[in-house]
Symmetry: C2
Subunit: 537 residues, 2 copies
């Protein structure tokens, strides 16, 4: 079951099992999410394998900072413990190894734990009882939503008890006036989207993993996704949370208010803390109206500077209807042509842009787009372009951006980085990396979310190549740090990236994170080995 897929042949096989044909009723655009964001079964960096084998060395013979630390001295589960859990969760304390298998392994099949107990509570009270008991017994707990994370944060590292939110999937309320939805943490994002679709609303976030991921997990990891440019981050759209703390206390901050300035905003502590500070049991979230009109444009630019000017122009002329501004470079296009036989819909250019608009009036949106394109062409910012308004054409244009990762998997071994930078610097990293690596890499490609300043940098080689990795890292992290960028724009730190935190956060900040962890979870039972670096443990 836990395969480590190697090389493109197996990957191609794996890709056939990916979900496109599954009845995904994607809402707004009808499109699929970029595979680079949340593609199951695709190795995203070389050290994923190391986490399984616990042997990876980066570069020369240094131990990988991604490798798991030694098991901490938590208690081991006894028969008395099992009896307790079976009593409070009749039929929902799972110990069958076969049933535990899929919960012990992450989506990417890159991290495998050895938990012997999976708990499936249905209520907040049950979660509270579980954590109170585990805390008193010093038993480690791995909170798990849809298990779709990419940094090894959602699976046990050793024998942590898996606490799944899968059975906590009730929608409590939806206020069709304010657009505020309240539900349990285990609701699957896609189910919430379908529920809202009937009510003329959408979720403020959309992810490739929507068919599996839980809203509680989305909040716990501060998931970004495709709608961030338009609707902002979960820090603004999540209005309230109910959280169970490590010792079983229930923290009720499940407000459904847009404004509330009574004391510190505690819910923010739990957004993006990856289950290390508490277990999110319920969520209230502000949902936008469903847009009535969607358009997609594919454009070509001669330089990245022109691309940035086009972005600026679009912000001014498309204004409130701009909902995505993505880019890919000519190397990406070459991969799309070569490996997926996708035809460039416009003439060859060094850079390509995908712009999406969504609004409440198709005539108006069409006119705005027309004026914008006229100006962009007249000013020679873009050299060629094509527009789609129909669903099938929209999907075809989006696929030029979304299938880059798939194309990359056919090119060889890929070293992947998810970097956040000041928007004007995002392509410089690609250029500098190309120069830095010289002939060492097969190709260095860049694509991503211009609107969010989020670059996906990918370096390919014929095979796994420790010397190449040593040339890439820590160069890529140091370069990012020198621009005050983030070494994890949206994926979080989890197990895999925890020790890279200092590239993006100063030591004082990391020390304060440690203080917060110690305050909320003094025994460290919640999702150990994750998010915080080993030197704080």
């Amino acid at each position: 079951m836990v395969g480590i897929f190697q090389r493109s042949l197996r990957l191609r096989t794996a890709l056939r099992h990916l979900s496109p044909q599954s009845p995904l009723s994607w809402t707004v655009t009808g499109r699929h999410t970029p595979l680079d964001l949340h593609c199951p079964f695709l190795p995203s960096t070389s050290w994923q394998f190391a986490v399984c084998s616990r042997k990876l060395h980066t570069g020369a013979d240094r131990p990988s900072p991604a490798a798991a630390p030694d098991r901490l001295p938590f208690s081991r589960i006894t028969q008395e413990d099992l009896a307790f859990f079976r009593k409070i969760l009749p039929g929902r304390a799972v110990t069958d190894p076969d049933l535990l298998e899929s919960s012990n392994v992450d989506w990417l099949k890159s991290v495998k734990g050895s938990s012997e107990l999976l708990l499936r509570p249905q209520t907040t009270e049950e979660v509270s009882q579980i954590l109170k008991y585990c805390n008193s017994r010093n038993l480690a707990v791995n909170p798990q939503g849809g298990n779709t994370g990419l940094v090894g944060g959602s699976v046990p590292v050793y024998d942590e008890i898996i606490l799944s939110t899968a059975l906590m999937n009730n929608i409590f309320t939806f206020d069709s006036i304010s657009g505020i939805l309240t539900c349990q943490a285990g609701c699957v994002l896609e189910n919430l989207s379908l529920y809202l679709d009937d009510r003329d609303y959408i979720m403020p976030l959309d992810l490739g993993a929507k068919g599996s991921c839980h809203i509680g997990g989305n909040v716990a990891t501060n998931a970004g996704g495709l709608r961030l440019l338009r609707y902002g981050s979960l820090r603004g759209t999540v209005l309230g949370l109910e959280v169970v703390l490590a010792d079983g206390r229930v923290l009720d901050c499940l407000a459904t208010l847009r404004k509330d300035n009574t004391g510190y905003d505690l819910k923010q502590l739990f957004i993006g803390s990856e289950g290390t500070l508490g277990v999110i049991t319920s969520v209230s979230i502000l949902c936008p109206r469903k847009p009535k009109s969607v358009n997609v444009v594919f454009l070509g630019c001669e330089t990245f500077e022109q691309l940035l000017k086009t972005f600026q122009l679009s912000r001014g002329m498309l204004g409130e209807i701009l909902s995505a501004f993505e880019f890919l470079d000519s190397e990406c296009m070459r991969l799309l042509n070569t490996h997926l036989k996708l035809r460039n819909p416009i003439s060859d250019c060094p850079f390509y842009i995908v712009i999406e608009t969504s609004g409440s009036d198709s005539t108006h949106d069409g006119e705005k787009l027309h004026h914008f394109l006229e100006e962009a062409m007249t000013s020679s910012l873009v050299t060629d372009g094509t527009v789609a308004t129909e669903d099938s054409k929209i999907k075809a244009l989006w696929s030029m951006r979304e299938r880059v990762t798939e194309a990359l998997t056919h090119e060889g071994f890929t070293y992947k980085y998810d970097i956040s930078l000041p928007v004007e610097r995002i392509y410089q990293l690609v250029t500098d990396m190309r120069e830095h690596l010289g002939g060492q890499a097969k190709s260095v490609v860049g694509y991503g979310h211009v609107g969010d300043g989020n670059l996906h940098l990918n370096v390919t080689s014929a095979a796994k190549d420790p010397a190449l990795l040593a040339a890439i890292e820590p160069f890529v992290y140091e370069w990012t740090a020198s621009c005050n960028g983030s070494i994890s724009a949206e994926h979080g730190l989890g197990l895999k990236k925890r020790n890279y935190i200092y590239y993006s956060k100063p030591s004082q900040a990391v020390a304060l994170m440690g203080d917060i962890k110690a305050m909320l979870d003094p025994k460290g039972i919640l999702n150990p080995y994750k998010t915080l670096p080993d030197d704080l443990k």
Copy 2:
């Protein structure tokens, strides 16, 4: 140009005059803020005076929970202390009582401290030196921005040293591609707005106090204001903060990234913590483009239910251009007529709505508004209305909403409440209060931000009336609590409301706030007597 149109015929005529041709020089920033939000020198509740006199009793003879607690055992300033501060801040350690006077008293003249030292640092390093010294000496500190707060949070209660950010007013950077501004905490909001105006951007928040308030204070109090419906709260738009902790440590979280998931988002701790956890020294914030087109509509409704349906319709039909949806009741209109001689621009109705749109295309915005108004009239949701597209007329219509507080001050003594509720409940509180008080009050009026679920409830009497106050409180707080509302939607808790926190937050949450305070400021020197209730001290 701005007609007063009655009934559907006139409204339809008005629609023909909508904006395409009008040269709208008026922008969102150009108008005045509702006085009820931040009006200097207007008493907002009866107990403000009590804080000065330390004698107020609410209701019968209970001590007011708003009264200041006893002075805590902080050190008193010595000559050695003064010598230290004069050395590190030459000419900027102010002890002249006349110069200290305005910093010791809040805008409302309702709270007066007795600080004998005002420090005016210019740099983060100076703030760090000050706090390190104060912490070691156990000297209490009152961080102060523009001193425009309404809950006594921005002035000393006893002899706390005032640490002003007034001289920390440098703009560091503005990225015209991403719209990200980085500046010191003491920049005045209006100055930032003017700076951005030249660059075709606006600040994501706007307040009546913009001419005085500092961006650092805005962030420290999580200021709401007029643009929240459109651009969201500061929790989403603030991208980074630099903060000096109580012991002088500098916490650099001054990121300028839209996405960053590397560890806990520490800056959120300081947003809305009212200077009790650290002193914000620098801010980075995401700024929206300046809208090219603004329209304002004034409408009348027969029932609040119709008003809510109109809100829902506007969210669907105005969609991305809706930027404000405010309301006032007929009692407010009576006060405007009686005390300010403002004439109702439409026929008499039980409820009035002010809608603002802002967008990037005046023709499109005008058309959307036209269709929306036609539908609202056809469906009999609104009975009358008038539209303004020119600056002076827009201001005139806005004044019907903004000058309600001013009108109230002429009516007698006013008990004011700033309540956040699920949007469908906001007027029920007014109705219930009216019924509850019977003939005890002169008038009970309601107005506010429908879009944000934020009600301004005002009860007037001929003079200050403890019996009336006892009838209002805790009724208003209990009512709010029963709907999971907030007893402070946007003003914070400060000194005045700190003990009411339990109406909106459960004890577990308040206890955790106390833990956070103890972790970050173990000696409690930062803004003592504020935000947290006395029973945590």
